[in-house]
Symmetry: C3
Subunit: 389 residues, 3 copies
């Protein structure tokens, strides 16, 4: 077996690697052209952010251990999968004030292709009866540093894996650990997230997870479409309801556009697997998310087709819940309950379709899942789905 592992940062071992670079010379039996390197960014609000850049021979992906093992972007030739946020990220968590009374501090660090939202909560901020912040927007996990960061190259499986642990722990309160793993195969135009969430406490805990996958230019364009095996579609609020008839297609840039969100239940295969496709207007570029709808039964589509400089982007977001305030979701039972020391597995695959053929193939797989069924599209927000309904 030709498997090698490198530990880049470990509190357990009191070890921290400043810079790191390996390539096909370093592991026998691997194809040419892959590499992994780690470095620390400098300047502005990215000062001190560690990134790991993995080139699998087909795409180059940047992971951010400093930001909860989020995925910053993927690059292939001149294309970029991700989006251009108005901030100059990636932003160090020490520059993100999750505890700002508004609960919106999370926005100051948001510029990833894939950002995990959780683990105590995700969704809109929630306040107690005294007006004090109780659950900040999208939770804490994305702004916690990873540790025990390890790179593994496995020539037998043909994989590069990067893993780390990210703790969301407060004494007397929630104590959970994300075991985050990112995996790609040599030459693959995509990657997978293989997470485990562990309850460190001896007492039960409730967690949520939303995978916030964000796509802007060049993939997103006027006429882009979300092809999903939708069982049900519900506009989040009255504003989203106004254009519910075109929920699955995207507009071009529009200054001042107010975001619109649609909640989905997806059809899935018998084993729970489902997939959604976002494709551009001409069907020449696309991205599919592949996941288990039993574990991630709620899907949100976030349209933010504002001006490019304001962040032209859509979020496609498989999750354990809808991003309503935490208490509302709890009342609906949309949380994962972990026993003391319990664990759960969560994750998704991201397939980047870089030509019309790949897009068509991705679309065919969605349509096969849908099997001709017509989604139930509600014209108005629905009770039990929408906090505002």
């Amino acid at each position: 077996m030709n498997t090698r592992s490198w530990i880049l940062s470990s509190i357990d071992r009191e070890l921290h690697v400043e810079t790191f670079s390996i390539d096909d010379d370093d592991v026998k039996g691997t194809p040419k052209g892959w590499s992994v390197r780690k470095r620390t960014l400098r300047g502005g609000r990215r000062e001190g952010v560690d990134v790991i850049e993995i080139d699998n021979g087909a795409i180059e992906v940047t992971l951010i251990p400093s930001r909860g093992m989020g995925v910053w972007q993927a690059i292939a030739e001149k294309d970029r999968l991700g989006w251009q946020a108005p901030i100059r990220g990636p932003v160090h968590p020490r520059d993100v004030d999750l505890g700002e009374p508004s609960g919106l501090g999370w926005l100051d660090g948001f510029d990833e292709l894939l950002v995990r939202c959780g683990l105590e909560s995700n969704g809109a901020p929630e306040f107690d009866d005294d007006g004090r912040l109780r659950y900040p927007l999208h939770g804490r996990i994305a702004n916690q540093p990873a540790d025990e960061v390890t790179v593994t190259v496995d020539s037998d499986r043909g994989e590069i894996r990067v893993s780390g642990i990210v703790d969301e722990v407060r004494f007397h309160f929630l104590k959970v650990r994300l075991h985050a793993t990112w995996v790609t195969r040599f030459g693959e135009s995509g990657f997978r997230i293989e997470d485990e969430v562990e309850n460190l406490s001896a007492s039960p805990a409730e967690v949520q997870m939303l995978y916030h996958v964000n796509i802007g230019v060049p993939l997103l364009d006027a006429g882009a479409q979300l092809v999903a095996p939708a069982h049900t579609v519900v506009p989040r609020n009255d504003h989203a309801a106004t254009t519910v008839d075109s929920y699955d297609s995207y507009r071009g840039e529009e200054a001042g556009y107010e975001e619109q969100v649609y909640f989905y239940k997806m059809n899935a295969a018998g084993d729970g697997q489902t997939r959604v496709l976002l494709k551009n207007a001409h069907g020449t570029q696309g991205v599919s998310l592949v996941y288990d709808a039993r574990r991630l039964p709620c899907f949100s589509q976030w349209k933010n087709t504002t001006a490019a400089v304001d962040g032209y982007v859509t979020g496609i977001e498989p999750a354990t819940n809808f991003p309503n305030p935490r208490s509302f979701e709890g009342d609906q039972g949309r949380v994962i309950v972990l026993e003391g020391s319990g664990r759960t597995s969560l994750g998704l695959g991201v397939e980047w379709h870089r030509d019309a053929k790949a897009v068509a193939s991705g679309e065919a797989r969605v349509l096969k899942l849908q099997a001709g069924r017509t989604p139930k599209v509600f014209k108005k927000p629905q009770s039990g789905w929408c906090a505002d309904a």
Copy 2:
């Protein structure tokens, strides 16, 4: 042309210079005795703060790129222009909690000679109807790190320039950029701030700016005086009103002194230029601020003649507005409206008068502007001027 530029920190170029030092040997045609160096401070709450120290042959000025390109102090021989704050600054923004519920976190980093207050707001904290912080004291810009930091030495113009960009950006909210430039001439006892504020958004934005220039010992003393071409003077609140008759003069140190603030409208030349002078009791030391009263129509004088150990200081503050809560100032129209992608220029000159002759010359220029007119001095806070009136 003999102009040389050095980039010290650039996200665009992925470049960050750890230490930097140039002097008259490095640019042809420049006089002897100037230097520029950059270093990073260590220890306490200054850990990691980058400073740039410019000696123009006459004065040595310390800029703080880490703190929004503020001006920490100026030194000439044994004199210091600035003040002794009770904190041991300059303080790293990561040690300043702007989002503290009180809205007063800004105070924890305040020790500069010149600190910009803005850009979304400045002035007193404001809260929403639920008591949650909406606008923190004096805004966010002073606690944002600069980037694209560049030093330019221009022997033709005889200038040293230091510029950088400082972003105040939140997704879905305000997205503005300060293009901050600090300029001095070789041998000059002073400097200029040449700022531009750019709206990064495609939608309109409102901004405010207050240049908070802070002077303590040795310049400020019992009997020091503010010589200003005042058109109108208004005490901010009843407490300031109690001593409005001596608004333009300063007391010595007084433990427990409660701050007093006066709002001014200044007379100006036909081109909008105006100037104010702060001089010590004997007229042997002074500092003038020179600025365009059309762009900075509001001036605040902040008296804080408390004990030295508590921060004996005055603020002389040309601004777009008075430092009332943001909503009040908005209702009065005291904001700058920028169109999508719009820009505005703002700035001021600081002249440090280091002998009686220079002070007298500065005073003569103020008196010429005033042209014998008597200011209207209100005895009480005025509606439309003062949030408390």
Copy 3:
């Protein structure tokens, strides 16, 4: 005299030592086997935390200048004095949001053997009438960096001393400085804290101090006992009242255990000296705190015998006050009033008993102080003692 001092970090001298290591070769006349080293931790939320590790020949103690000169742990052979918090500390203050609206951010950094709580306040968070945080849990001092950090080895007194200053300063508000000193003797199984609190302001100030000494496994176990010269014991709230009959003994691990707190007044010797002992069930391990009950008249016993993974620990806490909300304590006069520029001395000794004989000796000293007196144990929270009564 053979005394040597090393300055590890000084803003005054613009000096910061990256790593530091001395031992018995470095100071004449000292015994073999001691050493002091300083290093900076990397990774996770400990990134950038400076620690000083002192081996006095008998025990190795870790101090955390980055966290207000707290004492992280003591190690002797395979034993550890301290506790295992659910977080992976020590945590950098820049990762602790004291200003979080809940006032509970302090918990995110809490994992020390000895952490100072103060100086403006300690105890439960307090909010103003608008629900805004006024005093965060346990105050600010433990999350301020030390500076002027100095190591002194004195062969005449046979001591190693580590000192530093820690400022808790806000312009317009409290401005106090902790002069923190930690002292041990060569070969001693213990150490002393010799603090001074200085009011930097010219105006009077009120301060509080609580020494939060935290002990978990292996010392704390089922049947462990607090042997204290108690004059009076009061359960903090009704929950603590339910088991007040066994206030002085400890249970084993119990998942979901809700913390219980008892407030004590201690008997003391004529010079004010008193001491309490925590011993394990078999009396083979113990720790005594020795302090002046005139300066620290209030003692809290915090029982948190939850599951090990949730933080099985007790706090034994000599203080100027009880950890009630600040206003309540102020109303009871349980604050130290410092005149302008005034100072006060505070501190305690920690004796680690590592065998049955040492435990017995420690217990005998407590019993001698108690002199057979029976403590008054209230069955219910008492007015004037307990904010909830």
